[in-house]
Symmetry: C2
Subunit: 160 residues, 2 copies
Amino acid sequence: MSTACDHHEEHQHHGLRGAALAAALTSAEARCAATQERLTAPRRRVLELLLGADAPLKAYDLIAAFGDRGEPAKPPTVYRALEFLERLGFAHRIESLNAYVPCRIEGAHVAAFLICDCCGEAAEVQPDLAAQVRAMARATGYEVRGVTLEAHGLCAGCRP
Amino acid sequence: MSTACDHHEEHQHHGLRGAALAAALTSAEARCAATQERLTAPRRRVLELLLGADAPLKAYDLIAAFGDRGEPAKPPTVYRALEFLERLGFAHRIESLNAYVPCRIEGAHVAAFLICDCCGEAAEVQPDLAAQVRAMARATGYEVRGVTLEAHGLCAGCRP
DNA sequence: CGTTCACCGTTATGAAATAACATAACCGCT
DNA sequence: AGCGGTTATGTTATTTCATAACGGTGAACG
Ligand SMILES: [Zn+2]
Ligand SMILES: [Zn+2]
Ligand SMILES: [Zn+2]
Ligand SMILES: [Zn+2]
C-alpha cells in the first residue's frame, strides 16, 4: 500500500516474527500434509511474506520481496502461489485493494474485512451474513458459491 | 465478461432500449441539474452504454464502444466518466470483475450484487447487512464509510 | 471583460494479471 | 531401477486495467 498514516504506529503490529512465524508455517505444512497438498518452496515463501506483513500486500510487493537477496520473482511464480494459498484457505484476496492477506480465522468461513483507508489495516471478521445473502439469493433461485465482503472506513486508531 | 452461456438467451434482456433508455437518460439529466452537476457528453455516453448493456461492462469495452462509428475513446475519457457516474450513484463498480453496471435501485443504498459466473448477469440487491456490519464495526471502534458486497454463483437460468 | 474552475483531449506510462510453452520434480507402478 | 501420468515450476512475452501529466476550452460569476 501507500497511504500509511503517521499517527499511531503501534496499531500496525500484526505481522508475525521469529518463533510465531515459524510456528505458523509449520502449522501450514501440517495442514497441507493432511490433505495431500504440498507447501512447496515458492508457496511457503509467499505465505511467509504475507504472515510477516503488517498490512495487505500487493502481488508486485510480493514479487519484489520474493528473493532472499533482493532478486524479484517472476509474476507467474507469485500468482500461482497465491492461487494455491487461496484455494487452501491460507490467504484471501481483497478485491477492492488488489491485495492479499493471510487468513486469520480458523476453519471454514466467509472472508470479510474491515479495511482502514488511512493506515491500510485490514481486519478479518466473521459476519453472520451468509445466511442473509443465501436467503435473498434463494428467493430468486440464485445459487451462492462465494461471497466477497469488504468494508472501507477508518479503524479506531485512525479516527479523528 | 467472456464466459457467456449458450442456454437461455432470454434471461439476459436487462439492457434498456429506445424509449426506456431515453427516459432513463432524461431522468439522469434531471437528477444532475438538481444538484448543480453536469451530465456532459462523455458522461452521458458512458451512462447510455451501461444502461443499454445486458451485463457488466469492462472499462475497455466502454472505450471500444464509445464512438458512434467505431472510433474508440481514450482511456481517461471513460475512466473520468465512470468516476463521475459512481460519485453520483448512477453506476457501480464491481470489484471482483473489474467491471461496471448502471445502478438499478432508487435512492441511497449499499450496492450489493448476485453475480452469475456462467452468463455474467449481475443482479443488484439490497441486503440488510449494513446494520450487521456496522454493529460489528462499532464493537471495535471502526467507522464504516462504504461496503462492497459481491456474491458469485449461478443464476436461476444457469443452474444445472 | 477578465478570472476562475471544472471539464476535456491527448500523450505517455505505470501497475496488475495472464498466455503460452518448455522443463523439472513427484508418485505409484511394474 | 525404469516408466508414465500428474503436478509444479521456469521463462518470455503479452494483455488487461488504470492513472499521471499537461495544455486547451468554455461555462459561471463578479
Ligand atoms: Zn480467513
Ligand atoms: Zn487505521
Ligand atoms: Zn445501486
Ligand atoms: Zn446465469
